[in-house]
Amino acid sequence: MFENLSIYTLVHIVVALVFPPFLLGVINRVKAIVGGRRGQPLLQTYFDLRKLFSKDSVFSETTTWVFRFGPVVSLTTAFVAVMIVPLGEANAPLAFTGDLILLAYVLGLGRFFTMAAALDTGSAFEGMGSAREATYACLAEPVMFLGLLVLARVTGTLSMSGLLGTGLLEGWGGAAASLILIMVSWFIVLLVENSRVPFDDPNTHLELTMIHEVMVLDHSGPAFGLILYGAAIKLFVFAALIVRLALPIHTGYAALDWSIFLAGTVVVAMLIGLVESIMARLRLPSIPNLLVGAGVLSLFSMILVLVKL
């Protein structure tokens, strides 16, 4: 099981731990430029994290250990997820047959505890956030799995590293239309899973309209830092999926592979920033329509590969 353990594993871990907050900075910078402002420093999220980790916390009297433990679980699950997804190298450190199911379910574990921690505060705002998160997850999860199925059929493997590996290059030759559809629907999944516009506005000031931010409203100090960090890693995981789907290349030069990959994630972050700049947040009742739309796209893509191969 340790055959993958090498210098690349170390690079993988370091990149997965250090790089993700940078993407949040990129998104904010793009939004600022499009909005005609200069914007925060690119490294602002790192400063925020340092500040939060050195702060003290306040806990509501209503809460129990679930509330204190929730942020730990969400960071842990994000970290396990990023160890399954291949980044710059061919194989992820934790690559095994069936890891694609673990990827979806371990993120589900994080979501379970984030929602439970929100309900622990006993506030209606957190309740709303948690109900919304639960509902949209139900619509996003099948889309994610349809994409995985299409990739499994195209590449003939059952591991994330195989799914998003060089075998995909042939897929781009034979089933490009399906893969483009999957890329579009996964981008929509990225937006909803990470609570970005048009599903949720991370910068809004009205608790009534929020999803993710309202669930973590009561967290403070180091615990909130863990949540922010975990959210950055989760965004990185989804960005990595899209980058590897678009560029499943393996040149053999590690430095080049890693540079291509990291540049790719920055491009995805810029795309997110552009979407946030040009779109308004959707009304809550029309969010399911967009997600069902993404589901229909991936169904088309699935049918295409089923008929073709």
Partner: protein
């Protein structure tokens, strides 16, 4: 003694376990302790029988004469029997211990001894069902189980809701029994013997009718939609430890029936496999959607049982698909996933029903809208319930994830094979993903509303922790959930054997440890544990223990009250709306007419659509039709004599 003699002794002892207690005083707890002791001994003998089977391997069936002259019945233990026997032995043992405190004889003088008697009878009957080797033995045990179940559901028969639930249960049960009679009559007609054996002819209308009767009859017992109508109310009205047994193992007898009948067929048509997959997927999705809409904690758990039966049925469908298309690998993963989910569901669902029982014991209601904040008063129950809730959502690193990953692996294997006809089955995978997300929503809601937040009623604020006889079974079950989740290898040897047994020789070549990443799951579990400990250590180091406490932030509102919390209906509202086409929620909105409206009420609840929109109207219509027949029964003797005369004249003219 051979394993067959041991298992017969176990069943007999279990059936009789409540009899001595029935003769003792109804005020003393001694009788209950005695019944519990005997049932535990019986189950211990059952475990011994399983051990003997494991050591000796399969031996020839044991035949003995039945009470009917000229007929003999037989028992045999094979891997399938053992896989269904283990949950029976474990769950009923835990339930009877739990009952010592939950349903104390001294507090339930009128029905306590009855519960002991029928719980034992049901245990013994279920044991006999899974080891029966011919149709007669099976039917006798099946009927005993069904009738003891009726008395258990009707324990509190002074409540009208309970009587209604019992009626519904017995009606559905009789339908299932009728179908079972049909199945074994057809078996006799085809094979000329009551013994369980491969059918001599397949592809005939008789063989098809037998399969259909088995699916719909046993499916009624299992709770496959739309035959699930009896299940929610029966589970809600029975005492909680009985609900645990019903949900944990009684439903599985239906699954066992279908699995057993499937072994009679040498070939499975592809259409049957796809049909089972479709039924399983729709049962799972709709079951959990209905669960989300419930306010009664036990009804919600009952609907979630329907969901899990759906997942088990998906596993069975996958296995049948493997048989139908000659892909032993799919069949192997399907059987392993199905059987493991049978065990897992027995473990976590009985755990959850025990947890619900402790809550009901403390708060005195099943309504989740008046609970909240219970984890402060009952920390042990809350922690055990949380383990069950995470496990039932299929989340790593607990046992539910292991069985689901096996089924997923099978479905993904379909996607990677060039087989085109079977490939429609891959759509069960996104279906299962939807089920997983819905289950997450449902159990976050249940756990959050019951155990977290602030208490929503006086009773919830003053509840008490369950006693040790109630807590220990929950802890044992939670430990089992964690064990299978963290070290899934423990389940592999038996699963290999059952897959080989069900699938014939083709599956012998497969080993679960090679087909599924069992060791990696242990590695992942260890990684998660280490990271969680590190994170918790970090927060402790940063001083969260000494952190000051304050009010929950409510946007500056100074006097938040517990009634302002999100309620069960509000949490479920969006999802209930999304599934409104199936759930048909009953929503009564207040009409506001005056300028200063006062005391308006909003009510929203989800009834069972199949029962209330289909079955009940149909039965009402049928009753109405038959009521015309009453005109004949006027009550006057002259009229009856007249009928006789008319018939005689008619017959004379006829001939």
């Amino acid at each position: 003694m051979t394993s067959h003699e041991l298992i017969l002794a176990s069943a007999l002892l279990a059936v009789l376990s409540g009899v001595p207690a029935a003769l003792l005083s109804k005020r003393s707890n001694m009788s209950q302790a005695l019944a519990t002791l005997i049932l535990l001994c019986a189950n211990g003998i059952g475990l011994l029988a399983v051990y003997r089977w494991w050591v000796d391997g399969a031996i020839a069936p044991l035949s003995f004469p039945a009470p009917i002259p000229g007929v003999s019945v037989s028992v045999a233990i094979d891997a399938i029997s053992v896989c269904f026997l283990l949950p029976i032995l474990v769950v009923t043992s835990m339930a009877t211990i739990y009952g010592l405190q939950y349903w104390k004889q001294s507090e339930h003088e009128d029905n306590g001894r009855g519960v002991s008697l029928f719980l034992g009878a049901m245990t013994g009957a279920m044991t006999l069902i899974v080891v029966a080797h011919d149709g007669l033995m099976f039917l006798a045990a099946w009927e005993t189980m069904a009738i003891s179940g009726l008395f258990l559901v009707a324990t509190e028969d002074h409540i009208s809701e309970t009587r209604k639930a019992a009626w519904l249960y017995i009606a559905a049960s009789h339908f299932a029994t009728l179908c079972a009679f049909g199945v074994f009559a057809l078996l006799y007609a085809i094979n000329g013997s009551w013994d369980f054996d491969t059918l001599k002819t397949t592809g005939t209308p008789m063989a098809f009718a037998m399969a259909a009767l088995a699916f719909f009859g046993f499916g009624t017992k299992a709770g496959i939609m739309p035959m699930h109508i009896w299940l929610p109310s029966a589970h809600a009205q029975a005492p909680s430890h009985v609900s645990a047994v019903m949900s944990g193992v009684l439903l599985k007898m239906g699954v066992y029936g279908i699995v057993r009948v499937s072994t009679f067929y040498a070939e499975i048509p592809l259409s049957w496999a796809l049909f089972v997959l479709v039924m399983g997927t729709s049962t799972a999705i709709l079951g959990i959607a209905f669960a989300i809409g419930q306010q009664d904690i036990k009804r919600a758990l009952a609907y979630s049982s329907i969901e899990n039966i759906g997942i088990i049925t998906i596993g069975l469908g996958l296995a049948l698909l493997g048989r139908a298309t000659g892909q032993p690998q799919w069949a192997f993963l399907g059987v392993c996933g199905m059987i493991l989910h049978v065990w897992n569901h027995a473990l976590f669902k009985s755990l959850l029903f025990f947890g619900a029982g402790s809550v009901i014991h403390g708060v005195g209601t099943r309504d989740m809208e008046s609970m909240g904040g219970l984890s402060k008063h009952m920390p042990k129950t809350a922690t055990c319930f949380l383990v069950g809730a995470v496990a039932i959502c299929g989340l790593p690193p607990l046992n539910g994830f292991v069985s689901e990953i096996l089924i997923y692996l099978g479905l993904f294997r379909i996607a990677t094979s060039p087989e085109t006809l079977a490939s429609a089955a891959v759509f069960a995978a996104p279906g299962l993903a939807l089920v997983g997300a819905l289950a997450c929503a449902c159990f976050v809601k249940i756990y959050g509303l019951v155990f977290l937040g602030a208490p929503r009623s006086e009773h919830a604020a003053q509840t008490h922790e369950a006693g040790s006889a109630m807590c220990v079974p929950m802890m044992i079950l939670a430990g089992c959930c964690a064990l299978i989740g963290v070290v899934p290898l423990v389940a592999a040897p038996l699963l290999d054997r059952v897959a080989a047994g069900w699938n014939g020789d083709a599956a012998v070549a497969f080993k679960l440890i090679e087909e599924a990443p069992l060791q990696m799951l242990s590695v992942i579990a260890a990684l998660i544990a280490v990271l969680l400990l590190a994170g918790a250590g970090f927060l402790l180091m940063r001083g969260i223990r000494r952190a000051p406490s304050g009010l929950t932030w409510d946007c500056g509102y100074a006097a938040p009250s517990s009634r302002m919390q999100y309620s069960s209906s509000s949490f479920a509202e969006m999802l209930v709306k999304l599934f409104g086409w199936a759930l048909q929620p009953n929503v009564e909105r207040p009409k506001i007419t005056e300028l200063f409206p006062q005391n308006v009420e909003f009510d929203s609840h989800v009834n069972d659509t199949v029962l209330h929109k289909l079955v009940l109207p149909t039965t009402r219509a049928v009753t109405w039709c038959f009521s015309w027949g009453r005109y004949l029964q006027s009550g006057s003797l002259q009229a009856y004599l007249m009928y006789i005369l008319v018939v005689v004249v008619f017959l004379l003219l006829w001939r």
